[in-house]
């Protein structure tokens, strides 16, 4: 399938016809609805909250935020940002509840610190990986976005961004930028390895003590069914030497270390690490 990110910048790609097509396609609507519900499940909001919808488009995801039942902690109010004027025009015609803003998320998030309880973003942030002019770089746009988002969320707040990375490199670039901004980050992948695979970047701002595990990102999916946690983080290694300095084992480990660095190292033999006794 072709990727619209590779063809045109978002404000030009989503013109009037494209925006209408996007919003009226029942296939896209169904996918958006299910992804928004999944994101809401990850956000785990207990009270009616103030939510930032990043790349809200025509308000497909926003409508769901408005329609959350009071028994499930809703209805939420939301503010949507999008760069495509045509998409926002469709949102106006559909008469969505939330506030809309025409803004480029790669230019930052213009809200004061601690404004929002949560943020949601459906199929938007992969657009940040493309720079449309030589004055901006994808890394710069990503870092401005994540820094702005980090500041505008309250402590203990969460953000869930569903995105379509082109390759593993984009995936690491996006999650790396989020971690650099200060978020606790994890990636949830639904239906991995299939055509319908969906990737959610789950971000937390500061850990709340209520979660009981020091605000670790894996706490977000605690209690959710069918979720396997794969922790690729390196465990902190015990400090201190394994071998006594000067022993044969120590010498061999040092030699291996030097060999890994690409230095020329003498072979190990039965004489390695032995004392040179005086022969007579």
């Amino acid at each position: 399938m072709s990727r619209p990110e590779d063809i045109l910048p978002p404000d030009l790609h989503y013109n009037d016809t494209e925006a209408k097509k996007y919003t009226t396609s029942s296939r896209i609507q169904n996918i958006q609805v299910s992804m928004t519900h999944r994101a809401l499940e990850l956000l785990d909001l207990q009270n009616p909250s103030m939510i930032l919808d990043v790349g809200c488009g025509s308000g497909l995801s926003g409508e769901i935020l408005t329609s959350v039942e009071p028994s499930e902690g809703g209805p939420h109010i939301w503010v949507g940002m999008d760069i495509s004027a045509s998409m926002l025009d469709v949102a106006l015609q559909r008469d969505v509840e939330g506030d809309l803003m025409l803004a480029d998320i790669g230019q930052g998030v213009p809200f004061r610190a601690g404004s929002f309880d949560a943020a949601i973003s459906i199929s938007a942030i992969q657009w940040l990986c493309n720079a449309d002019s030589s004055e901006v770089s994808p890394a710069g746009r990503l870092s401005r976005f994540f820094n702005g988002l980090y500041a505008s969320l309250k402590r203990g707040g969460r953000a869930v961004c569903q995105f379509y990375p082109k390759n593993d490199q984009q995936r690491t670039m996006i999650s790396g930028a989020a971690i650099k901004a200060g978020f606790g980050a994890g990636i949830l992948e639904d239906d991995p390895g299939t055509k319908n695979s969906k990737i959610y970047l789950v971000l937390t701002v500061g850990g709340s003590a209520a979660e009981g595990n020091g605000g670790d990102i894996t706490g977000v999916v605690k209690g959710m069914e069918y979720v396997n946690v794969l922790d690729a983080r390196r465990k902190h290694r015990e400090k201190g030497r394994d071998f006594k300095k000067g022993s044969k084992a120590w010498i061999i480990s040092k030699k291996e270390q030097m060999e890994r660095k690409g230095k020329v190292v003498k072979h190990n033999s039965k004489y390695t690490g032995r004392k040179r006794h005086i022969a007579f």
């Binding site: 109010i77 940002m81 930052g108 213009p110 809200f111 404004s115 901006v136």
Partner: protein
């Protein structure tokens, strides 16, 4: 755009990030519309501690609304005072700015609002 949102918006220009004058943005030549929305005490109590009350007072007086109490009410006061709760709900969630502009007091940049949508796109040299 709801007045509640205005209470959170700051100037997007890079050089304004470090100054306090960039918040709140000042509404200019604004047309207001009011909408009816079911009041939700839980939502208002959730947002209440995060409101910048002095900014809200400034905005309200600039738009010509009757004076707000000098300091932010607590949750208990709001529960007891039905009229205050109702007024606050009307002001924050039911009043929308439909046309006009928002001006930053620091750099003077003006963000246009059309049909309730504020335009926060900036030229590259201001980012």
């Amino acid at each position: 755009m709801k007045l509640l949102t205005l209470n959170f918006l700051t100037c997007a220009v890079k050089s304004c990030k470090s100054t306090s004058a960039s918040f709140p943005l000042h509404p200019k030549d604004c047309e207001l519309v009011s909408d009816t929305l079911k009041s939700d005490p839980k939502l208002l109590f959730n947002i209440l501690p995060r409101l910048d009350w002095s900014a809200l007072s400034t905005t309200a007086s600039e738009l010509g609304f009757p004076g707000l109490p000098p300091s932010a009410p607590t949750k208990e006061e709001l529960e007891a005072n039905e009229k205050l709760f109702h007024d606050l709900h009307t002001l924050l969630l039911e009043t929308h700015i439909s046309e006009g502009s928002l001006v930053c007091a620091n750099c003077g940049h003006s963000y246009k609002i059309k049909e309730g949508i504020a335009n926060f796109l900036l030229p590259n040299h201001l980012v």
